[in-house]
């Protein structure tokens, strides 16, 4: 086996991942009232068989109004547990580790599924029975003028959100997840508190950087308190808002230090989304455009980082880990295109010449075909 950093195990607290390939949380908009469907099980099982070390379940609402769309998954009730348990079992059965991203959409909730328009809900959605709900945020400002206005959370209500994160974390544990990630990026609730662009509060949760950080830190602390010590906690951040007057990289380094001090193990470094759609129709961003954020957060805050965003070539992923930019590589859309991406990457990097990383049902045949036919 040629030495590969991408396929080196990584131990985080009591959990050892077999390699550095992570399947990024990706919304499927295929749930009903937060309940996962067969689609999710099949979708996630493919990645687990495909060799990734960690497989994330998509952004999952910690309360019903914290969903992005009517199709988002949820973990706000006990009833959601059997479906989540099924997913954990499938991922483990196929040799990987299940993780879940706990999310609150904030003012970006009550939205359409991307293929229904990727905008605020319209009459067409209402006709399907998909009505608007009252969203909440740091401020009572919609993301776009034609979107419903969110309700600015009161101090008391903020406590309720924190409690919902705690209950969701307990359920994630019960369902069998090994990793929890708090979603603090892409303009959703925690991002909206952190960013000066969307937080004009003058109470304990707004104003200077310390107060804007308060809710993210309280939630990280509360989640950490109920998430077992031996299990890792991740935090996804929009490392930069990519907007005038918004969060800059050094703000994120400061946040990462505070999160690290509260027991967050990995900073998952994305960007953008505070005032627009994060990843939909846009000009070219470029391969690995967010990697420098992961590198800076890792070096500046002394915390493990995960690089994500337009990483698709195995050699590139290998290089990111090898040069110390990140500890983990999250693969998103490329895994939708190729659920066996990790196995294919190991092949491309010469890491698995005997195809022993493959399930025996597949590898036994494939290695013999390769020896005989050269492919």
């Amino acid at each position: 086996m040629s030495a590969s950093r991408l396929f080196e195990p990584l131990t985080l607290r009591g959990l050892t991942l077999k390699n550095r390939v992570v399947i990024s949380p990706m919304c499927q908009y295929s749930a009903h009232e937060g309940f996962v469907t067969d689609w999710h099980v099949d979708h996630l099982a493919s990645f687990a068989r495909g060799g990734a070390g960690l497989v994330f379940v998509e952004a999952t609402g910690i309360e019903a109004r914290g969903r992005i769309t009517h199709g988002c998954t949820g973990i706000w009730s006990e009833g959601h547990l059997p479906g989540m348990h099924r997913i954990c079992e499938a991922i483990k059965r196929l040799g990987s580790v299940p993780a879940i991203q706990l999310a609150h959409a904030g003012r970006k909730g009550s939205a359409q599924r991307p293929w229904h328009g990727n905008d605020a809900l319209t009459q067409e959605d209402f006709a399907r029975g998909e009505m608007n709900w009252q969203t909440v945020a740091a401020d009572a400002e919609p993301i776009f003028p034609h979107w419903p206005t969110p309700h600015a959370l009161t101090i008391e209500e903020i406590g309720g959100v924190r409690d919902a994160f705690v209950r969701a974390t307990k359920r994630a544990l019960e369902a069998g997840f090994e990793v929890v990630e708090v979603h603090g990026a892409h303009g959703y609730l925690l991002n909206s508190f952190f960013s000066p662009l969307t937080n004009h509060r003058d109470d304990a949760y707004g104003g200077d950087a310390e107060r804007r950080m308060r809710l993210p830190l309280e939630i990280a602390e509360a989640v950490r308190a109920v998430w077992p010590d031996e299990k890792p906690l991740f935090y996804r951040v929009s490392a930069v808002d990519d907007a005038e007057g918004g969060i800059e990289l050094e703000d994120t380094v400061a946040l990462a230090k505070e999160l690290g001090a509260r027991g967050v193990d990995v900073m998952d470094c994305s960007s953008g989304g505070i005032a627009d759609d994060e990843t939909a129709d846009h000009a070219a961003l470029g391969e690995g455009y967010q990697v420098p954020y992961a590198a800076r957060v890792r070096a500046g805050a002394g915390i493990a980082s995960m690089a994500v965003g337009l990483i698709h070539r195995p050699e590139h992923a290998e290089e990111i880990v090898a040069n110390g930019s990140a500890d983990l590589i999250a693969i998103g859309r490329e895994a939708l295109r190729d659920p066996h991406w990790a196995l294919h990457a190991a092949e491309a990097l010469g890491t698995d010449p005997e195809m022993t990383m493959w399930p025996e049902q597949y590898g036994w045949w494939l290695v013999r075909r390769k020896r005989a036919e050269g492919y």
């Binding site: 295929s30 059965r93 196929l94 190729d338 494939l366 036919e373």
Partner: protein
């Protein structure tokens, strides 16, 4: 969408296939007492999500002794229907049609799983954990290879019960909801042994000349066809050549194809070899890219029977050419799809079919087409 033969639909009986790509039946050795497991469910889900038009469930035994290994699936009891129905539902849910291959291993029963013992016959190690060998049956008492248990030669009195096993398995396949059924007549298993002069030394009505050797396979096809709904297609997999001196040749296969066609078989799935030796495709013909396609081409040309080409097909352009040139109606991939279950989607991309990725499931395609437009990959 650019014209592509590979991505053109095909209707067989009442079953409309969205394209010509078939997931070949591939043993997973992951069943217990013939019952499918979670492994099969996830395996078939990915294959169906990948865009193949027809997804086969592996060789499934019509009776318990007709398994190859202790890990093979079966349809010899009603209790096995439910697991199969779950596979059909999974395959349908992702937009493909579901097929089942029914099989009897004959003298190749009692094999260890390939990764346990390299496909050798069951030994003491397997017996120690309860996987003991069982009596195998064949047209003649000839072992499949050195070191193998010698099968008992079937008497004429045994044959009606075997036909019944095929009938019952067919009925169960229908109950499970499969769209297509295939009778496995290749790779040195029971029906192939009847057909090949190398394995059939009988001097009764089921041996001797080609007509005698064909007799039992054709009786099986008649029995299955009578039980299988008329509007659903029946396939037959054959080893077109034995690749060994004195074995089956293409002339024999063309003759067989005529008889199968007359009995309502809709397509001949054209594999080869395996009559002697442990592995399914052992024999003297050199293998290489699409090496079995000429068999499918000749059967189709000379008999007008639809054919399935299979074996070492992996380049999209090659698959396209096989269908476009009329060598075969369907192209089956096996290992290529284990390696990459999304091969059909990648093939569509390579062939310039579906530039807008409209054929992808919405949660995937919506993102991927936008990435492609913006980033060029």
């Amino acid at each position: 969408m650019k014209g592509s033969a590979l991505f053109s639909p095909l209707t067989l009986g009442s079953i409309a296939l969205p394209n010509r790509i078939v997931v070949s039946p591939m043993c997973q050795y992951a069943a217990h007492e013939g019952h499918v497991s979670d492994w099969h469910r996830y395996h078939h889900a990915s294959l169906a999500m990948g865009g193949s038009g027809l997804v086969f469930v592996e060789a499934s035994a019509v009776e318990r002794r007709g398994r190859i290994t202790h890990g093979c699936t079966g349809l010899w009891s009603d209790g096995q229907i439910e697991g199969m129905r779950a596979l059909v539902d999974i395959i349908h849910r992702h937009g493909a049609r579901a097929a089942l291959q029914i099989a009897h291993s004959g003298p190749k029963a009692n094999t260890s799983r390939p990764w346990e013992n390299g496909y050798k016959p069951l030994g003491p190690e397997q017996a120690a954990r309860g996987e003991t060998s069982w009596e195998s049956v064949a047209p003649s008492a000839l072992a499949a290879g050195e070191g193998w248990r010698v099968p008992r030669a079937l008497t004429e009195d045994d044959l009606p019960a075997l036909l019944n096993a095929y009938r019952h398995a067919t009925r169960r396949a229908e109950a499970a909801g499969f769209d297509v059924l295939e009778v496995h007549g290749a790779h040195g298993y029971l029906l192939h042994c009847f057909l090949s002069p190398l394995a059939n030394l009988r001097d009764d009505a089921y041996g001797g000349d080609l007509a005698g050797r064909m007799r039992f396979p054709l009786e099986v096809v008649e029995a299955v066809r009578a039980e299988w709904p008329e509007h659903k297609p029946l396939f037959y997999r054959t080893s077109c050549v034995d690749g060994i001196e004195g074995g089956l040749t293409m002339d024999d296969t063309v003759a067989l194809a005529h008889e199968l066609k007359a009995r309502g078989v809709a397509a001949l799935d054209c594999s080869s070899m395996g009559i002697q030796g442990a592995t399914a495709v052992s024999g003297g013909v050199p293998k290489g890219e699409d090496y079995q396609v000429p068999y499918a081409e000749r059967v189709r040309r000379e008999t007008g029977l639809a054919t399935v080409a299979v074996g070492l097909i992996r380049r999209p352009e090659n698959a396209e050419e096989i269908v476009a040139s009329g060598s075969a109606d369907l192209v089956a991939l096996g290992r290529g799809l284990l390696h990459d279950p999304f091969w059909p989607r990648r093939a569509a991309e390579a062939l310039g079919v579906d530039p807008d990725m409209a054929g992808w499931p919405a949660p995937y395609g919506w993102w991927l087409v936008r990435r492609k437009r913006a980033e060029g990959f």
